[in-house]
Symmetry: none
Subunit: 538 residues, 2 copies
């Protein structure tokens, strides 16, 4: 039997300390449900003593019917020179109605003197009183020893004394925090071993990523005896973030044979990671280990021909174990073997022999020569292959567009787009404004299509990149535009190339919408909307 390791998720609390991360109560409730299905054991929902949004979360989390995870609220030890029973912060934890409280206290003598400015003795009392009071209220108590490693390195006796106080008061867990993220795996391992030899209470680890070592430190702590890991989805968190549970869990489970979640739950890891990024409205790094879209993507021709013989040649695990998949990037660096694998993914029969295959390869070579790059534009490549195989119908065709960008003295810049297109044989004329030329074109285009395909209302452009291909004469040279689009389930990328940045953007926009429409249901625009849309029957 594999040794169990308990997973404590703090995406909703420490994760929101990350720059640019902000979650509404609704967001938090949605994420909590996903975390529960992923199989984490604790969900730290917030700090009820610090803001009202968090109090509402704890109130509403009771309606979630979580099947697996316990919700826990965060707070600090009582204030100095006061009573735990009347401490507002501790009483907020009790009032929040959770069954588990997580409180932090000081381990580092320097912090006791400098940050909270009290005596070493009073700090010990603050820890003891706070844990004991929460236990007396029937709560499970997780004690987070803030700055434990820095404290231990500076004054081991005192650091140990603080967690022994927490143990004496009845804490259910003692979690050692590398709050500043400055410790190295060797130190973490040694210190956790020492602590485990001194305590009966089970020990946990809470690591930060300031040295790019949070995952390594978490693994080192578990190998040294820790049985709980605190971290966040995608490593969100203050400064450089917390230990990334999307890497900690598969490493513990697939590489070190610990047991964190079930096999099925592990297979949801990639979708949970992407979902949390989506809700938090941040772009996930494509190269994120295990769950990133490039984590099992192959570019070099040598690698690709080898993985076709055997995936293990260049993949450290089977991607499906974490719900991810292999991708082959089609690029100038790669041979045609990449393309064959891509066609297989789409169930298109593209054996090495036929004329059709040769034509497709010639076409792609020609496009890459013109400056297209498909490794960052999966959706454009898929459209190209599907078109070549007659696997897709063009549901709209473009007739013309006109774009006007004007600035008059004293006014801000105005962008207008006028688009004429045929949708299912009907001519549609639309015009729209936008914050910029591409936004105006996007608005006009979607205005024309949304009445036929209401689903495209959910999609939006999530990234836009421009690169000059031939840099000799920049504004007269060709540019490549990459557009990334997102809806509730997917993210896809498209490419456009032209000497004209507007035309290149336009091309990538069209591909993005064409891809979004694959498999979508068409509806008939209501009669009273037809006039507004400028529908003209031919």
């Amino acid at each position: 039997m594999a040794t169990p390791v308990i997973i404590f998720d703090t995406t909703l609390r420490d994760g929101t300390q990350g720059e640019g991360i902000s979650l509404s109560v609704e967001d938090k409730l949605k994420i909590a449900q996903k975390l529960d299905r992923l199989g984490v054991h604790y969900i730290e929902g917030g700090w009820p003593g610090s803001n009202g949004k968090d109090i509402e979360f704890f109130h509403r989390s009771k309606e979630l019917n979580l099947t697996h995870a316990k919700v826990t609220a965060f707070g600090s030890t009582r204030r100095k020179d006061s009573k735990a029973e009347t401490d507002p912060n501790l009483n907020r934890l009790v009032e929040s109605g959770v069954s588990v409280a997580t409180i932090f206290g000081k381990s580092w003598d320097f912090h006791v003197h400098t940050a909270i400015q009290t005596s070493l003795e009073e700090n010990l009392n603050m820890i003891y009183d706070s844990v004991r009071y929460l236990k007396s209220q029937g709560l499970e108590v997780i004690y987070d020893a803030e700055h434990f490693f820095d404290g231990f390195k500076n004054n081991p006796e005192y650091a140990l004394a603080t967690i022994q106080k927490a143990e004496a008061a009845g804490a259910d867990w003692v979690v050692l925090c590398d709050t500043n993220g400055g410790s190295l795996p060797g130190e973490v391992s040694d210190i956790v071993k020492t602590v485990c030899s001194k305590l009966k209470t089970p020990v946990g680890i809470h690591a930060h990523n300031d040295c790019e070592l949070a995952v390594a430190n978490s693994l080192a702590a578990v190998q040294a005896g820790a049985r709980q890991v605190q971290g966040t989805i995608n490593g969100f968190g203050e400064r450089c973030g917390n230990a990334n549970l999307c890497s900690v869990i598969p490493n513990l489970q697939l590489k070190l044979d610990y047991n964190c979640v079930s096999e099925q739950q592990l297979q949801s890891l990639t979708s949970v990671a992407r979902y949390v990024s989506e809700i938090a409205n941040v772009n996930m790094a494509v190269n994120q280990p295990f769950v990133g879209s490039a984590a099992f993507a192959h570019k070099g021709g040598i690698h690709v021909s080898a993985i076709m013989r055997h995936a293990k040649t260049y993949e450290h695990i089977v991607p499906e174990l974490v719900g991810n998949k292999q991708r082959v990037l089609v690029s100038e660096l790669a041979g045609q073997s990449n393309l064959l694998v891509k066609a297989q993914e789409l169930n298109l029969d593209m054996s090495n022999e036929t004329n059709q295959t040769k034509q497709i390869i010639e076409k792609i070579k020609e496009l890459e020569h013109q400056g297209y790059q498909f490794e960052g534009a999966d959706a454009s490549l898929e459209l190209l292959l599907r078109r070549a195989f007659g696997d897709i119908e063009d549901i709209f065709t473009m007739e013309s567009f006109k774009l006007i960008v004007a600035k008059s003295p004293g006014d801000s810049v105005v962008s207008e787009a006028i688009v004429k297109m045929k949708v299912h044989g009907e001519t549609v004329y639309t015009a729209a404004e936008g914050n910029g030329p591409v936004n105006a074109l996007d608005n006009a285009l979607r205005k024309a299509l949304v009445q036929f395909y209401p689903d495209i209302r959910d999609m939006h452009l999530s990234d836009y990149k421009v690169r000059v291909i031939n840099e000799k004469d920049a504004t007269a040279a060709k540019v490549r535009v990459l557009i990334e689009s997102t809806d509730i389930n997917n993210t896809w990328s498209t490419v456009g190339v032209s000497e004209n940045i507007i035309e290149a953007s336009w091309e990538a926009l069209l591909d993005s919408i064409r891809y979004a429409l694959i498999g979508k249901t068409r509806i008939e625009p209501q009669a009273d909307r037809q006039a507004q849309l400028g529908l003209v029957n031919h």
Copy 2:
């Protein structure tokens, strides 16, 4: 004396295997110069046997006058069942003119059978012959043992035999590669120790980040005896990337007391990391350890009040050691000392004390908050400083512009720009076409100015980059445009920011031309040209 660790940078080779990373020869040359100043010991520039772009890089790198780093070219061992002396790949290395060759060979018996499909014996010969041949050509040889850790775990005797062959043939370094990125620090440590006990040749480590452990594995290898670390700036590289030198170097040097680069060189780390991201046109993660803009940013109220008492309370190192800085509020200023240096360069008296200096710093903070970034836009910064010191006169002012981009059925896209401006008090109206909207604006603008300042005929735009700053809603978000311009003597960069890509480009174009006009002589347009120019006297 601290033990030296040699830094081998492969940003230009393995780094470009990362999804979305593509570097021109010019880009590579620029980055190589920065790497040299950072103090890396080897710069792996590419694979001359694989593409012509890399051959050009090696040719041109000789003009760089690098003061510190050696440039090395990458390749593989000879083909099976052939001679090293006639192997095209090996001969490309020789012809590239570098003094150091880096070649990889197979260590994993599974790969010998599956990927290159030859006998274990022949693989040993391939390694021996290739290293010996390159040595006989007078080259320093770094032998990269591909998949060494997977190979060792599967068949330790054979894996050791491969590197012993490389040693016997005279390799100067044996570098152990965790090519699939699947190994853990404990394994890496044990295996490196074993290898170091069997070889006399110095050993290196080449780690990949598939388990989010590349930095930890690199440190573990050094602590076990490795004396060279291969990696990339910002961890660029295939799949999840290579070991991130921006974390490896400060960890080795500041935490473990090894010696990689000088103290001064370490202080350039943040600016090198940002420069490389800028050139590669990818967004750097704000939470990147050590060098990210959020690496020392404090959000939580408790943390902020503690760091105001003492920075050490929530910072694991002094940020200036790596050229980064603490951020508390929204204060993005890229090093006020940089600003002082810049002002000195321009002979502007900008001591730390005056009101004027404070106002300039406030202005720059405000602009950086809006999304401007002056690190990649020296000329815009210079204009801003000169303007603040009254050191420059505005020789033209803009009144209005209008841009029309249109595509009709069957026609190509047409871009027209109409510009109204005042030059030395005279109103000038011009219109021009272009290959794209920015080119049309550039043409109209220069048409208006060239009669007054014929010298600007020599300048042209040499690079044009666009970045979405706030990625929440891509085409409606702010964009930053960086324009690089070149004339016979100089290259300079300018920046523009707006929600509208055209307006941002326009702003950067104006700065580019204003910069070009500094110190240029004005002439009076000839009478017969005035009508053509649309000059109107007011």
